[in-house]
């Protein structure tokens, strides 16, 4: 039942964002989302409860601004590397240890690492994320972790546990 309601909410909110607030659209969207969520509820394995609402708010309010800041900083960095005549790159494949246990947490961490330019997730295992890094800084895995994902890891560890 929880799965039903979770997927129903996601589908209905997407519908509302696409069509706008309009009583006819809301009714049709309600019926369609209810049917769809009934059909797909066996295929999904996530669910919300009232406990996840503070986590979602924390994700939106704390994580997204940190992420956007890192995104802009790193984008300017890659733009500089591309435009500079000598092209100062020092690429390498490194292992970033992570303590996040939840699968969705690791997925979000890997996606954030990929979205911030300069680092690209290649593979994810139980306890680490393997990345291609355009400019390797540091000497050991702890250094890498500090430079790449420490700010994400701290927040995501509190949200997905």
């Amino acid at each position: 039942m929880k799965k039903n309601i979770s997927s129903f909410l996601i589908i209905w909110i997407t519908w509302i964002l696409l069509t706008g607030i309009n009583i006819n659209e809301l009714i049709v969207g309600f019926i369609v989302s209810a049917l769809l969520s009934y059909v797909i509820s066996n295929l999904i394995d996530y669910e919300f409860s009232f406990n996840s609402i503070p986590k979602i708010i924390k994700f939106l309010v704390v994580y997204i601004p940190v992420f956007l800041f890192e995104l802009i900083k790193a984008n300017l960095d890659v733009a500089y590397r591309v435009l500079s005549p000598s092209m100062p790159i020092n690429p390498g494949f490194v292992r970033i240890p992570t303590k996040i246990k939840s699968e969705y947490g690791r997925l979000t961490l890997a996606n954030s690492i990929t979205l911030t330019p300069g680092t690209l997730t290649v593979d994810v295992s139980e306890d680490s994320v393997y990345i291609h890094w355009i400019d390797v800084k540091g000497n050991n895995n702890e250094d890498y972790q500090k430079n790449v994902s420490a700010s994400f890891e701290k927040i995501l560890g509190g949200i997905f546990n």
């Binding site: 696409l18 995104l71 733009a79 494949f93 292992r95 954030s112 979205l115 300069g118």
Partner: protein
């Protein structure tokens, strides 16, 4: 107000141009995909902000676009690079660390013993 919107549109186009230039200049497939896929994140964000300022009634739809890009773009580029790596695409000679190799070797060994 319009000028702010145009500023964001031009900024987006500028980052796309940098992405294209990066694909041309970078030495190997990994660095190329870094430059090529990353420009789309900030480039697209800036473009969508510009559009949102010009036409505020589209903001909900633009939000959906942002969410889909944020979910699919990293997965796509990650899968591309992993398949290139597994296929053994040539690496830039300045690539000095490769901890991924140990990981895949270990995984292969595990598969063989099982």
């Amino acid at each position: 107000m319009m000028y702010i919107a145009y500023f964001f549109l031009i900024l987006g186009a500028f980052f796309y141009a940098i992405g294209g230039l990066g694909v041309y200049r970078m030495p190997d497939v990994y660095n190329r995909s870094q430059a090529g896929t990353k420009a789309t994140t900030l480039g697209t964000l800036a473009l969508l902000i510009g559009i949102a300022i010009i036409n505020p009634s589209w903001i909900p739809k633009l939000l959906i676009i942002v969410v889909f890009i944020a979910i699919t773009n990293p997965i796509g580029s990650s899968v591309l690079v992993r398949s290139a790596y597994l296929k053994g695409a040539k690496q830039y000679e300045g690539t000095n660390i490769d901890e991924l190799k140990e990981y895949y070797n270990k995984e292969d060994a595990n598969h063989e013993t099982n």
